[in-house]
Amino acid sequence: MSTATRGGMDMQLCIAEAMDVVRARADARQLAALIGFSPADQTRLATAVSELSRNILQYAGKGHCEMSDISTDTTLGIRIVFEDNGPGIADISLAIQDGYSTGGGLGAGLPGTRRLMDQFSIESRPGLTRVTIALVRRRA
């Protein structure tokens, strides 16, 4: 089950099952559209959210994400923080390399997400992994 609370233009989602990944990427797209991002950026963001929420499900079992509107007078912005209390990423610099996977995947999730986003950072230790992404665009 996913629960969404929307205060202003922020929302929090639980990620605990396969449908939550579908919901998270749909919600990310919708929030991005509301903020005023182009369809290309909406797709980049939905794809990044799909990757990161699936990683939570796959490697930590469950977790959550928080999406925030960080727009200013001159820029459109969205920031999404993904958090889980799973085992953590042992070697972050390895995990962000193309083709590295401990789960039999393509190992394209983290490196791909990093290329799609303007900001991308990972903090991880056993018991807490936090991946933060953001997309920022100058207002038209």
Partner: protein, 128 residues
Amino acid sequence: MRIPILRIGRILLASIQVEMSDSDALRFQNDVVQKIAEIEALGIAIDITSLEVVDSYMARVINDTATMARLLGAEVVVCGIQPYVAMTLVEMGRDLIGANCVFDLEQALLRLQERIAARGDADLDKGS
């Protein structure tokens, strides 16, 4: 959520009409392989027009499905990939989708017929 797989002679047509969860995608892969074997399909067109997100997992399922189909002797063409999806896939990394892609379903069916004809080992109109 089951994706219907239609049959036209010995060609299969799968049109994904909804956003799929990971488990939907795996079930789809399984259904495609079963159906190809069942009717000894010569080719399959997979229409992904409705997929608004193709991430690394979905890319892998599509690629694996295409490889499995080829191992069973069927030609595979993917069609309808959305422009923004194509852009995103290229930005994420090269070669995430390895399958043969065309613009729409009509072209997919043409391409399949060409490829099957080029093989010269099967009669398109005969059922199995």
